[in-house]
Symmetry: C3
């Protein structure tokens, strides 16, 4: 597999300088591990010093870095080298044969009343239930489950083990036992959504669970019934979002974060990994709640004190009063 | 799809007043989004004010709310409106065609020595291994795995991707390497248990892992070997329960909570989401251990102080001593 | 199923004393629940008192415990009773018929360009994509997914629902939307690796994700792209390891722990369950970061104080200054 530098520029644009367009490229690599047949990129000016050391045949850089790059060898200049790199990986991937031919794999089970666009790919062991809709060019990689009446938009990618439209977790207590509340809503997923392996998105109780366009969700994420997620929000792995939470657009939710139910998170909010959101967030910012890690010996001492923190606060208050009294006495 | 008010009362009981039994109902909806063809319910008297605004054709209410509801329109009175609502969703669901016909789907793999009740439903791509038992009216939705020798009771629902009876995580260290401890126990699941998508319940090491009747488990939950879970306990998504923990009956475990191994949790205990249970709990109460979330800037300051909390406590102690000495001096 | 004591010693070594080699054993059991047909083991000298009470026909003990054991009945002495017990479970398991016959189950989908060793077992509904390699005696239990170009070593066990080689989570922001960075690396897994149910290991972005020999990973673990995990490290359930983290050999990562991306963890490090590793760890030790659990009432008070902890520290500092001034005054 490989491409010539000239083919890359022909496909993706940018300006090639200081190198022969026929130079064969066999690898995309980070600056530090690139070899003479690699193309690399400089995204963050902080790493500019790596330009001098890299063995790369060509480096994708912003115009401001053009001279520094040319001092070393060939470069492609482009306003956003990281986005260019992303498109280059897509060009590279397009050369690879697909894992499975387009269309519905013979081991997939598709209900006759489901609607799968002819340009969609449905991999081995997928199940698509009655009334489900899968949009154009969407790819269900392998054993993806699309529950009854759920809708997946266009150009989505669902990785192996994804479960869309299992029942939300709803029960009514009656005489100490749990009556099932049947989940009568569905899941509606927009266009250009990617959903990681073994992630689950439950159907709504009465209304739908809704994932807007361009949302990217990592592996093993749990999205409960009636959640709404705004466009272009990213959610890292192991995260849990409880029922009826409403996450804004352009948010960034760190891995293993958790968001309580019935909350609202403002557009553009970032949540640090493993943090627990217990109240609505109306002002976009980066929010964090992580217990700092220490050696276990140190932690034990601090955790013991933490259990008495409100008492410590009382003791400080008392000290302040007593000291005030002493000072006034004088 | 729809039902007349009279059909609902005929099926579920309750007393219909102020409305025509032939009124067609096409939707179950919350009070605030109900329309003239919706039936709604008032569960929490706190929301009684919504009665005045709702467009619902009929509202399910407790007898105490009868008058307020009638002032608006039709109502069904019943002692427990939320449980009535739950049963109404079941009535509604029963009208829908099932995702797959009853019985064993042709793509399921059932070992000839497994015992599947003829009234059970086994969806596409399920695997049921040798010696496993699946009880009457139990539903395995799709690609559910029931390991060798495991038992599922009656009227259970297992959602897509559930894995029952994978090996527990047991190894013995020998010369810096790990010897596998084969997991010789099984999993025994009672009646009326519901298990969410992609949840895993491991087989016991020597004895069995046991889930009692009426337990409800959400998605992506990890239940390790030899855990025992008491009847009618609910466990929300992403939770992890480590080996040999014994959870009581009627407990409520919040999402992404974790329970260490070999602990006991008293009947009726509640654990807040994301909290880590590090010791046995003998007295039922609500227990919490969540690092409060703040803006990252605030968090950084507080987390830094937290790492020195036991020192702060020492400084307070010193201050108290010094102040005492001063006061006594006078 | 059963074995005679003499058969056990013949297969596993050790020295049988005080018992008839023809004694039939039908169960392996803990000391406290063993019966007259059980074999048990004493691993931890702390539990030596249980020797006197056990009903076991034979107990596996270290030589130092030989006399105490013989006072009760038969024993097998061996330097490492726990490792002996592990091997005994393997001997036991080998008597059971396998869940599925060796070889590739007819419902598995194996790409013609994948390379599966003839001694490997591929269970129902597995998918093995183009260019993937599965080593000798490796077992894929059921619906395991091995992505394009990924390599699994010898004698590995992959439990149901495992996903190897889904795309890593990589996107470049462009005009507020996310461009996919195609994941061009693969996953390389060494020998003797065990991977728990529904665990996901993503393919690398440019280079590979690498799991070294002897690593044991529990259920529902998320391992992101380009992670490297050193030999014989164990990782408990629900854990998340973010992209490009480099975990050493012989580490022990507790359940639901999380490790940020691009960190390094020294060989031999232990991380407590649910702890969040936010910086590299260069010195092996046990590290912990857990918010201590309390009743919710106590927690509320302490959590409120925690949000002002850095202010409390300032107040202590002020008190110290004021007290100093007072003392110097005198």
């Amino acid at each position: 597999m490989g491409l010539q530098l000239g083919q890359i520029v022909a496909a993706l644009g940018g300006c090639l300088e200081g190198g022969d367009p026929q130079t064969p490229i066999t690898r995309i690599a980070p600056l530090e591990s690139a070899d003479a047949h690699s193309i690399s990129f400089l995204h963050n000016p902080r790493y500019a010093a790596q330009l001098a050391q890299t063995q790369a045949a060509c480096v994708i850089v912003a115009p401001a870095m053009r001279e520094a790059a040319l001092a070393h060898g060939a470069c492609i200049t482009t306003p956003d080298p990281y986005a260019y790199f992303a498109r280059l990986t897509q060009l590279w991937q397009a050369q690879q044969p697909p894992a499975w031919p387009q269309g519905v794999h013979p081991t997939a089970v598709v209900h006759p009343e489901a609607l799968v666009d002819p340009s969609a790919s449905v991999g081995p062991h997928c199940t698509i239930e009655r009334g489900a809709v899968v949009g154009a060019q969407t790819v269900l990689r392998a054993r993806v489950h699309i529950g009854q009446g759920c809708t997946i938009g266009e150009r989505c990618i669902l990785h192996p083990g994804v479960v869309i439209g299992a029942d939300g977790f709803g029960f009514a207590k009656q005489n100490g036992q749990w009556q099932k509340i049947e989940q009568l809503g569905a899941v509606v997923i927009g266009d250009d959504v990617e959903i990681g392996a073994n992630t689950c998105i439950d159907r709504g109780a009465l209304d739908d669970t809704v994932i807007a366009d361009g949302v990217k969700i990592d592996n093993l994420v749990q999205i409960a019934h009636n959640v709404k997620i705004g466009a272009h929000t990213v959610i890292a792995g192991n995260t849990g979002i409880a029922g009826s939470a409403k996450i804004g657009a352009h948010c960034s939710i760190g891995g293993a974060a958790n968001i309580l139910g019935h909350l609202q998170i403002a557009d553009g909010t970032s949540i640090s990994p493993t943090s627990m959101v217990t109240r609505s967030i109306h002002k976009p910012d980066l929010y964090t709640g992580i217990f700092p890690i220490q050696t276990n010996a140190e932690w034990e001492k601090n955790a013991a004190s933490l259990k008495q923190l409100s008492q410590l606060r009382e003791r400080i208050k008392k000290l302040e009063k007593a000291l005030n009294a002493l000072t006034e006495d004088k």
